[in-house]
Each structure stands twice: as structure tokens, then as C-alpha cells.
């Protein structure tokens, strides 16, 4: 026998199920009045620094049908590349930007829209700069463990080319699955595919 490490096991995940909105966005799904507003619904205010952008996302299943019962959370740096978190030791992030958003996919179109700002660059562990990106977490009925991925920006070609995370993707034809397309006017479209030829690169991170 040896000494015990006294580690616990992470609680196993279970699907968010079809009624995740009741818990996480009750005002959206017809349960008003319990909470003043749905958490994560507003990411920016008048004083938030940085370039305003709109991120339009859909999540497609293996038949190409958009999910209409998913919930997405995003987490990102401010316009200077700083995270609004106690574990951010490089400086004080913009106090008018939480960096965190939560939205359900629309029950008819499946679209999920985030009004946010374009993040600055933050360093990889070795000090090299990562390209601007937004972290995604996707849950829904039929998803047993929340899916993690990132969204990069199509108009950041030079930064994307030196991004240490994108560089780790072995099959280079899959890199574009992480890059949102700039449609002009600060609108970015990011399609997430759960399966198929265009399956998004999901992270174990």
C-alpha cells in the first residue's frame, strides 16, 4: 500500500435536457418574475470599450438541422486581451465588460445572437500571443457532456496563422471550422456542426 492522494472524482455530467431554459434562461421560456433578467443576457453597456460586434451562431446536428433547444455560453477577453476574472493577474480588465454571455438558440430558427465586442489578444502559456478568440460551451438535449470549442475571426488572418492552438490541429482542412465569417458591419457568422464532413473541432481542454 502507498499513501492515498485523497483526490475526489469530478461529478459526472448529465445532459442539460430539453428544459435547460427553465433553469438558465427562465425569462426567455415564459417563467417571468423569478429572476429580474436572464443571467448573461447583456454583455456590453454604453461604456464598454472596444469594437462592437454581433456573433450569430447556429448548431447543426448530423442531418444538418439546426438545434432549437440548445444553450450556448461564451467567455472572452476584453478589447485589450484581459479577462475580467480574479485569476487574471496581468492587469485590470474593462469593468464595463463581464466577458461572459449566455443565450438559448431560438426555438424557431435555431439562431443564437451575441452582442459583444471584439476581444484583444491574450498570451498562450509560453508567452506567444493567441489570435483573438471567443470560448464556447454548448449544452443541449442529447449532449451528454458540454462541448467546448473556440471561435476565431476570419478578418484576423495574420494572427490566426500564428495562433498556437490552431497550430495544434493536425488535419489542416478542419481549421476553418473554428473561424467565424465576417459578413461586414461587425457581424460574424459561426456555424457549429456536431457531426459530418464539417464537424467542428471540439476541445478536451
Amino acid at each position: 500500500m502507498v499513501q492515498s492522494l485523497n483526490r475526489l472524482k469530478e461529478s459526472p455530467s448529465q445532459t442539460a435536457g430539453p428544459y435547460v431554459h427553465i433553469g438558465l434562461t427562465p425569462n426567455f421560456c415564459g417563467i417571468p418574475g423569478v429572476f429580474e433578467e436572464d443571467l448573461g443576457a447583456r454583455m456590453v453597456n454604453d461604456k464598454t470599450k472596444g469594437e462592437r460586434i454581433t456573433v450569430r451562431t447556429r448548431v447543426f446536428d448530423g442531418t444538418g438541422t439546426p438545434l432549437k433547444d440548445a444553450l450556448i455560453e461564451i467567455w472572452q477577453a476584453d478589447s485589450d486581451g484581459l479577462y475580467n476574472s480574479p485569476s487574471e493577474l496581468r492587469g485590470q480588465a474593462d469593468p464595463n465588460f463581464t466577458g461572459w454571455g449566455r443565450k438559448p438558440t431560438d426555438m424557431v430558427s435555431g439562431e443564437c445572437v451575441f452582442e459583444t465586442i471584439k476581444p484583444g489578444r491574450a498570451p498562450f502559456k509560453d508567452g506567444r500571443m493567441m489570435a483573438p478568440h471567443i470560448s464556447f460551451w454548448i449544452v443541449a438535449r442529447g449532449i451528454n457532456l458540454g462541448l467546448q470549442t473556440r471561435m476565431y475571426f476570419s478578418d484576423e488572418e495574420a494572427a490566426n496563422a500564428e495562433d498556437p492552438v490552431l497550430a495544434r490541429i493536425e488535419h489542416r482542412l478542419r481549421v476553418p471550422t473554428l473561424i467565424a465569417e465576417h459578413k461586414g458591419g461587425g457581424v460574424y457568422e459561426f456555424d457549429i456542426h456536431l457531426q459530418g464532413d464539417r464537424e467542428t473541432v471540439f476541445f478536451d481542454i
Binding site: 483526490r7 475526489l8 472524482k9 469530478e10 461529478s11 459526472p12 455530467s13 448529465q14 445532459t15 442539460a16 430539453p18 428544459y19 435547460v20 431554459h21 427553465i22 433553469g23 438558465l24 427562465p26 415564459g30 417563467i31 418574475g33 423569478v34 429572476f35 429580474e36 443571467l39 446536428d61 448530423g62 438545434l67 467567455w75 472572452q76 479577462y83 480574479p86 485569476s87 496581468r90 463581464t98 461572459w100 426555438m107 498570451p123 502559456k125 508567452g127 493567441m130 470560448s135 449544452v139 443541449a140 438535449r141 442529447g142 451528454n144 457532456l145 462541448l147 467546448q148 495544434r168 478542419r174 456536431l194 457531426q195 464537424e199 467542428t200 473541432v201 476541445f203 478536451d204 481542454i205
Partner: protein
Amino acid sequence: MPADKTPNGNPETGAFFQRDRLWHPPAFTPTYKTSVLRSPQKALLSLDNTISEITGPVFGHDMLGELDNDLIHNFAKPGESAIGERIIVYGRVLDERGKGVPGALLEFWQANAGGRYRHKKEGYIAALDPNFGGCGRTIADEDGNYAFRTIKPGPYPWPNGVNDWRPAHIHFSVFGHGFAQRLITQMYFEGDPLIWLCPIVRTIPDRAAIETLIAALDMQATIPMDARAYKFDIVLRGRRSSLFENRLEGN
């Protein structure tokens, strides 16, 4: 609320432990049919955390309303309360090192006592309770403790097999200190025979893992003549000490 602290009082910045993906349910679990077309099929890209995953937002106690942790009353008309068995659910949010997770945000949702959810897409014939909304939230204290009051949800049938029933359960969403700790799970109740028949429960391969999701009846914490108590601890990913890790300037 504070983040994890190192012994000298600084916030922790270590990467989270690798997730044990054999302990969690796999993505593709055909007996839970909806997973078939919603499960990624390609290998995940495995990466040590960067600052994008180590960090996370802070939720302050000031965002909470007085009845946020009381599902018996938070949707009820004044002077009325939800129908069902009155229970208290309490426990601790810990990480894999056994440390409490202060300031963790817990959000929960559930069916009413008859097994009916208040949701447009819900079609079960059981009656809605006009005094029950089905959602609540709280924030763990400085030791990771949390508690809320609710009614015991009923089991309900769902379209998967022709006769599949969910055991009584409460959905939990937990937000710890880093975005990589994000977790959604479900709490089950001690003694429920439906647990072991449920295709969603059984997406978890290991029986010992399932047992960690079953809350224990706690008669000591029960309030006599009022509400029974169930204890449910939740474990989030632990994190490495960054003490001896090489860090470049400005990192």
C-alpha cells in the same frame, strides 16, 4: 466572491486537471436516442488550459433575490406555496482536491410534484401547479456550502423507448472559478428504483460514478414537522498549483 487562493493569498492560476472522460458519459450513447445525431464523432483536440480556460466570471451575492433559493415560494402567489413534499437540498461544492469552491454559482431546475415542467415544449398530461415555476439559484459560501428549499419533483415519462421514465431528479448547473470547470449534471434521490432503469442515467458507464449523483436522505438535517433534507455534494475539476511551473514574464 474570492477565487481559489494560494497560501500567500493570491488567486490561483493553475490549469485544471485533465477531465476523466471515461468517468463522464461518452457523447454517443444510442440507448439515449437523441445523442445519436448530436454526438461529435471525431477525436477531441486535447490541450492544457490557457488563460482563456483558467479564468472565469465572478458572480456576486448581491445579484440574488431573497426567494431565489426557495422554489416553494419564488413563483407562488403571495400567501400560497407550491404543492408537493417539502424538502431541503444542501451540500458542498468541492474541487477534486477536496477544497471548497467559494462563490460557485448553482442554478437548478426541475419538474413539479406531478412530474410536469413549466415549458412550451412539455406535453405530459400531469397538471401544472400554478404556484410552481421550477427554477432557482444560489451562490456557495466561503467554504463551498449551499442550500435551497423546494418540493420533491415527480418522475415523468419521456419519448425515447415506448415506456421510459425519468427518475425524480433536479438539474444542476454549476459555475466554479474557471470556464473549463463548467458543468451540468442531475441529482437523484436515494431509494428511487427508476434510477437504474433510466437510459440517461445509464449513459454514465460506471456504477460508482452514478452513485455520486444520488443524494442521501439526511434525517439530522431534516426540520421536524416541516421539510426532509437531502445532501448533495458536487465536485468540480481540481487545478494544479502553478508554484513550480515556468512562466514567462507578463504571463
